[in-house]
Symmetry: C2
Subunit: 305 residues, 2 copies
């Protein structure tokens, strides 16, 4: 897996269930923009979904013809039986990889304990097609993968532990991973330093804002050597910063709701809360005039195609 | 519910499954010491168990004749459908209450979002027998219930939101809850200040160390007005401090393993790691001479009875 992936935002129906039709539609749009599908990531509200909901959604997307090879579902739960069950299902569907949080309820756990957790998943899934991308996001999960632990995991499971999403929020940490593990699958957790990261060997980025700016970010990841890359980096960063001034998930859903012409998109699952009207208006004002992929309504985009 | 409850430590078999027989045996011992069963709490490794494992364990315990009215299973998951499903099952079995963590993956969430989460659970369980004890443990879950939010929840669900386990680790916070919500079900998260708390209206404590010191802590909670209470408080605190010098869950399991004469008890689920031999020896040395309920082997206790 290479390039840009979106932690696909998850739409909900009025009865609070996952809106599979709208999820499928959004995944099609992302794939059409050359953006991979990291469904059930943090920005997907993946941790607010049950294993059963995730299995049903994955099944739906694959049956709808979306390419499992471009999917990297989040499968890391607090309880290893859940992580194993969901990872096994994803592998069975042919998913290109799984994005795995460490067990994150217990804090201050040792590298040995996390090493054992990964080993249990590898043993439990028991399928040589399993490809794990470690999900390092200490600002949210609080539990992360140390550089030393990553090295141990790569040595113990060289064909399975194939990469990482670095959502440390610290680009110097991403650089350190790139230097320590050359040729290994390091993905940035956002696009802010993507150009520089690609130059140092990154495989791409898995970024929340891909949900609304998929085309531009995917193009930057693909054509990072082009003369336009520097200007494109600046443009995607302007969009990122405009959105990141608001709570990320509700903001992405507000933009998606406007794009698809469907207010139902705004719904988030508690403990999150949707953006109110005034915040939405401020967000849209901040985005006005910026070049991003959900700029025009979806209907106009279809008409133009 | 009143008195002392244990977040019952969960034994595992060699194949990593929950050891239902040993769990049942330990629950019988706790009930025999007048200690309630807060199964699936933090110290139960409750967050390392799947919903299916918890349902199977609850079913087993109730079928084995243990009293559901003395059970307060932990039912709070990151995903509300899981919380609802498990809480509904517990209510259906007649459990006296559920101990509910807030959804704890997303950090920095608002009181409004947590208020909505509880409302979703109340609506989803849709059973007037539901009794929720809020589980406030910010040192681990990172997400807690503010005093203001607790007040809002009590006013919105007066017959459902009936109490709290305060594992803030700060007795002044417990005191504040006792003062703000007189007559409401405040349980201390440990026994260190139990005597004082009972005098100020606490309902009891839900404490890890009940697993190995059930009789003494339950007696302190029941007879806190007795002349022996002060000496008993000092004695239980000495035991608590001796154990808390080690990682709590592995230490409790080491003591249980010695008590039941079964090394299998020592197993923990990753990301936790078991105590090594040297730590176990130090722990047993620290406990030597202290008065606690698992002092003698279980066999000797049975023989003496």
């Amino acid at each position: 897996m290479r390039g840009a992936l979106a932690p696909v935002v998850t739409p909900f129906r009025a009865d609070h269930a996952v809106d599979l039709k709208n999820l499928e539609r959004h995944c099609r749009w992302l794939i059409g923009k050359n953006c991979g599908l990291a469904v059930f990531g943090t920005n997907s509200e993946g941790n607010s979904l049950s294993v059963e909901e995730k299995i049903a959604a994955l099944d739906h997307l694959v049956e709808a013809g979306l390419p499992p090879a471009r999917m990297m579902p989040g499968t890391g739960h607090c309880a290893l039986p859940d992580t194993i069950r969901l990872s096994k299902h994803a592998v069975g569907l042919g998913c290109g990889g799984v994005l795995m949080l460490p067990p994150f309820y217990y804090k201050g756990v040792s590298d040995d304990g996390l090493f054992d957790a990964v080993a249990r998943v590898v043993d439990g899934v028991a399928d040589e097609r399993l490809r794990i991308y470690l999900y390092h996001i200490p600002p949210v999960a609080q539990v992360g993968f140390s550089v030393d632990l990553i090295g141990r995991l790569i040595r113990a499971h060289p064909r399975v532990v194939v990469g990482i999403k670095d959502s440390s929020g610290d680009f110097s940490h991403t650089r350190r991973l790139l230097a320590e593990f050359p040729g290994w699958g390091v993905f940035c957790g956002n696009e802010l330093d993507l150009l520089e990261a690609m130059g140092e060997g990154a495989f791409g980025c898995i970024s929340a804002t891909c949900n609304v700016n998929a085309g531009n970010i995917a193009a930057l990841a693909a054509d990072w050597r082009s003369p336009e890359a520097a200007a494109r980096q600046k443009a995607v960063n302007d969009v990122r910063r405009a959105i990141a001034a608001f709570p990320m998930i509700p903001a992405l859903k507000a933009v998606a709701g406007r794009f698809y012409g469907d207010d139902g998109w705004r719904a988030v699952r508690p403990p999150l809360t949707a953006l109110g009207r005034s915040a939405r208006e401020k967000l849209f004002a901040a985005l006005a005039g910026l070049d991003f992929s959900m700029q025009t309504p979806a209907a106009a985009e279809v008409a133009a195609a």
